[in-house]
């Protein structure tokens, strides 16, 4: 069985520092990390491979070449093959153009199932899995919290989905795109100590648009139907406010406020 896991690397948003003097966000030296939902999907695939060694896992990402080290790290966690779709022409692609680029690669790739995360942590748009599913004409489902292992090997995946009001189980014939959420608690295994410096370069491929050959009019900024035309600073509505300490006097103030406004 061949599994393709789509991964994305995002800035670690919790690491951002804010410069209060200059009122700017400090983005330098912020580490890129694997998108948490994508790590869960990869964690499931590696768990399945541990029990069923004939499972082959390929991780696919699109992005600048500075993700190479992180893809090498994924290979050291027992992923078989890593593919980076990278080209200067891809910069600025919106989700539509991105899906077409990744879709073009997947069309020719060999797989039984595609696993992705449900959400991306930076944009939180959750658009790529759905767009790709349409491009590849596959079933797709998000917010998966459990995938039954034997059913995967039988090519009819049983998945548990956590929707707002319900817990649901679906049977989905493979190939399909299964998008795993953080609630799944599937975790990436650690790199074994012996493998920390393992040379994985023979299993890492970089594919540019010379070989992928997506129509250059349909990629990058100019090939993206959605365009950012303007950005606005955050308009925090300022209020007349009282600042108190966390002491008896402060609690008195809060109590008086709650009383006055009818919350007690």
């Amino acid at each position: 069985m061949k599994i393709i896991c789509l991964v994305k690397f995002t800035p670690d948003v919790d690491q951002f520092q804010y410069d209060y003097e200059k009122n700017i966000l400090i983005r330098e030296n912020v580490k890129l990390v694997i998108n948490p939902d994508d790590a869960c999907a990869l964690g499931f695939a590696l768990g399945l491979k541990k029990k069923t060694p004939e499972v082959v896992i390929e991780a696919v990402t699109m992005g600048p070449l500075n993700v190479t080290a992180m893809m090498a790290d994924i290979l050291r966690r027992k992923v078989d093959l890593a593919t980076i779709l990278s080209d200067r022409q891809y910069v600025g692609s919106d989700t539509y153009a991105t899906s077409r680029i990744i879709g073009k690669y997947l069309e020719t790739a060999d797989y039984d199932v595609i696993l992705t995360g449900s959400h991306s942590r930076d944009g939180d748009t959750a658009q790529i899995p759905g767009q790709l599913a349409e491009y590849l004409k596959l079933n797709q489902i998000s917010q998966i919290r459990k995938i039954d292992q034997p059913s995967m090997l039988n090519k009819r995946a049983l998945v548990e989905v956590d929707s707002e009001k319900y817990l649901e189980t679906y049977e989905i014939p493979l190939p399909a795109i299964l998008s795993v959420g953080r609630e799944s608690n599937y975790r990436l295994p650690f790199v074994r100590y012996d493998d920390l410096d393992l040379d994985v370069s023979d299993r890492l491929r970089i594919i540019d648009n010379d070989s992928l050959a997506v129509d250059s009019k349909k990629i990058g900024l100019k090939g993206s139907p959605t365009k950012v035309i303007k950005s606005y600073p955050i308009d925090y509505q300022k209020k007349e406010q009282v600042i108190v300490k966390n002491d008896d006097q402060g609690i008195d103030m809060v109590m008086a406020f709650l009383e006055k406004e009818g919350y007690l």
Binding site: Y96, Y166, I243
Partner: protein, 317 residues
Amino acid sequence: MKKKCLFFYEEDQGNYVKDLLEVARQMYGENFESYALVINPLDVNVISGFDYLLAVKDQRLKDYDLINITSLMAECQQVYQFDAVIVLATQLGRMLSPRLAMRLHVGLVADITAIKSHPDGTIEMIRPAFEGKLLAGIINDGDGPTMMSVRPGVFLDQQSTAKIPEVLACQLQTIEDTGMRRISQIRKPDSRDIRESRVLVAGGGGVLKDFDQLDQLAQALGGMTAASRRIVDSNKADRTIQVGQSGKTVHPELYIALGIYGALQHVAGLNKVKHLIAVNTNIKAPICSLADIVVEGDAAEFVRKLTTRINENKQAE
């Protein structure tokens, strides 16, 4: 000529879908016709506010069958040539909208928080971007309808008309067997919704270790506990109580923000909150500028003190 807007109608989200009429109003004024598309409705008579209702009755079409729902909507697009397609960003809507956008070869702007119409007719959709530090104004540059998704509760239907829609016949031409089935569906036990609570006691990174204690304060105030993304990511709370861009948009009367920094993604989830109390060790945190009262100090300690005080008060009465 009037603009045509298509809305995907989920019956159990009816009021939230109706709120999306406000998005169309902000785009087109009163110069639009609204079309709601509903699949296998239990009761079409409760659907109001739209001009037309495309009610599709076909038992082969399941509510989770996104491939065929997409085909159906694409066929409707062919027939009616909508200018805008507006989808509520529910779990289903968030899977459906990207698929439909790809089918129609149009861009999609997800989770918009505001919308503007320019004098030349360009529609500018606004959403948080750049890790939530700025708002981006985005246009759809290309042929086909303007497509967007909108979180429940972000726009509120200001007119709330009881207009009875005219029902239009609508049938999917060819249905594909996708082979997918739902095997079971179990309703979750506690489905009280934070969006319906008058008081929310919300915790962020500053109360990571003491998040459990927030319940006592919420109970004392007759409200519910809510959480920021930090808390949910740390598995301290379920995603159903998350406030913000990646969670829910809430409009309680009182919001107590405990150890919450107030990044735009979080603040995007607060809509028309009447009163806000922020407790933070850092009074320069953005959440504090939204507050009526800022308490400078440790949020967990504040929770203990205030809970004790409220409960003492109750006993004294």
